[in-house]
């Protein structure tokens, strides 16, 4: 009798599609793509078992650059699409890609409720503190005094604090990473995927075109000087008092993910179709 064939492990490179990214040269998102594929390879996943879902923006181009299933959806609505997919197909690994504009502004409400719902998703937000695709408008995480042609004198608005908001809303895993550390970021993404429930990973990903000063981030980031906690209040205090450059898994909880039963006693699509028959 022949032994069952065992699929060979897939290299990180093999998770990339043939499409060449069109991000600006120097964009941090190139390295985030590399971290995605390294994380998938590290977890020994197969492209046909992964769905990468995104909204709109530079970072949201990522699904096309992988050879996994992909859905490049509506602005700010990636989490809604991803939640539906994961609930219907819990066997898939669902990773959601977004940016600070798509995720925190247009999709801000979905972000809150995805944290609260705790569907088993990994939400990766590439944060560069600017709307890059639409030519450099301030985003929710832009500093209030960022002076540019499109925001003379700065917006004067308080910045959105995504990690604390994720904690307050119930995310089960909260981490901050840096695109300039692709291997470290891959480890964090892999950890986020492995952790059941809603995992939120904010990646500082410089926009060298509209925020050239973000090249300095590589000098500012550092491993968080504390170990991961399972106490959300303690994690929130730490995040509120750091300078935004501590990298690592900052919170890991143990909430049970939301997953309704599938198929048993529920209507099938054909039943629904019958109800609408004329």
């Amino acid at each position: 009798m022949n032994a069952p064939a065992v699929a060979a492990p897939i290299t990180a490179q093999a998770f990339k599609s043939d499409y060449k990214p069109i991000w600006c040269p120097g964009c941090g998102d190139y390295s985030v793509l590399s971290s995605f594929t390294k994380a998938f390879a590290k977890l020994d996943l197969r492209p046909e078992n992964i769905a990468v879902v995104s909204g709109i923006g530079c970072s949201s181009r990522i699904p096309a650059y992988t050879n996994c299933y992909g859905f490049h959806g509506v602005h700010g609505r990636s989490l809604a699409a991803a939640s539906g997919l994961k609930v219907a197909r819990p066997d898939l690994t669902v990773v959601v890609a977004s940016g600070d504009g798509d995720g925190y502004s247009i999709g801000g409400n979905h972000f809150l409720h995805a944290c609260r719902r705790n569907v088993d998703l990994t939400y990766v937000v590439m944060d560069n503190h600017v709307y890059g695709m639409t030519k450099g408008q301030p985003s929710p995480t832009t500093e209030p005094d960022w002076d540019s042609k499109l925001s003379p004198g700065g917006t004067g608005l308080r910045t959105f604090h995504p990690l604390v908001i994720a904690l307050a809303a119930g995310a089960n895993f909260v981490a901050r990473a840096f695109s300039g550390d692709p291997n470290g970021t891959a480890d964090i993404i892999a950890d986020a995927i492995r952790t059941p429930g809603f995992s939120f990973v904010e990646i500082l990903s410089p926009c060298v075109t509209f925020r050239p000063e973000q090249r300095e981030w590589k000098q500012l980031v550092r491993p968080a000087p504390v170990t991961t906690t399972d106490d959300a209040a303690r994690a929130a205090r730490r995040i509120m008092t750091d300078d935004g450059f501590n990298i690592g898994v900052l919170y890991k909880g143990a909430r049970k993910p939301y997953q309704p039963p599938i198929g048993k006693g529920k209507k099938q699509p054909s039943d629904l179709e019958a109800e609408f028959a004329i």
Binding site: G26, Y30, K135, L150, G180, G184, T209, R215, R222
Partner: protein, 209 residues
């Protein structure tokens, strides 16, 4: 390391909208790497582990140069794309030679478990140094920095290790990287130096500037 870049034209200035001067740590010298680990990495313990690191360094460099080549190709800079492609092929050849020498099908050390001093291998180029209007001279400057960083990595390793096999390998690799530094310096001498306005684009992609 003191690989001060020429002020003649490092690919540093972005077509930024802010009007602020770009923060360009790379333009002042060898780009520093952010510390990746909270604790000091354990030393490389054996000659085999050393070769795995040497392999990873070359493979990571090849991958990054290929990524740069793709980026330049997409941004209609075929000359620099070809140069990065060539650098990628060279690094990949070095990586393949190590595999062949060791009789490995793949590296025995998993990706992410390498003991770099910073976040990436010493020969891996810094992506934030790219510019869509960069010229071959700039690409070679980036390569020169990487080769110097690799040479210094092996030199430091040779000095600091207590393992004779690791020291022997590190000294060989240091000399090899020093030769690459020399070759790139020669290459740079044959390459036209960009004029001071190389980054000026009469029709820039950043409309708000």
């Amino acid at each position: 390391m003191s690989t001060k870049k020429s002020s003649k034209g490092s690919p540093k200035k972005s077509a930024g909208a802010s009007g602020k001067k770009a923060a360009t740590p790379g333009s002042a010298g060898t780009p520093k790497r952010a510390a990746s680990k909270a604790v000091k990495p354990a030393p490389i313990a054996s000659a085999s582990e050393f070769m795995a690191h040497a392999y990873a360094m070359e493979a990571e460099a090849a991958e990054r140069y290929a990524e740069f080549a793709d980026s330049m190709e997409v941004h209609n800079n075929p000359e620099v794309a070809e140069l990065f492609r060539k650098l990628s092929r060279i690094e990949q050849r070095h990586a393949d030679q190590i595999l062949e020498q060791m009789g490995w099908k793949q590296s025995p050390v998993a990706s992410g478990n390498y003991r770099w001093k910073g976040t990436e291998g010493p020969e891996t180029a810094d992506p934030t140094e790219l510019h869509y209007l960069m010229q071959p001279y700039h690409a070679l400057q980036i390569a020169l920095i990487n080769e110097k960083r690799a040479r210094d990595f092996f030199a430091h390793l040779a000095k600091s290790t207590t393992n004779a096999g690791v020291r022997k390998g590190a000294l060989e690799m240091r000399d090899e990287e020093a030769e690459h530094v020399r070759l790139i310096e020669e290459w740079l001498k044959r390459t036209p130096v960009p004029d001071s306005n190389w980054e000026i684009d009469p029709d820039p992609p950043v409309l708000s500037d």
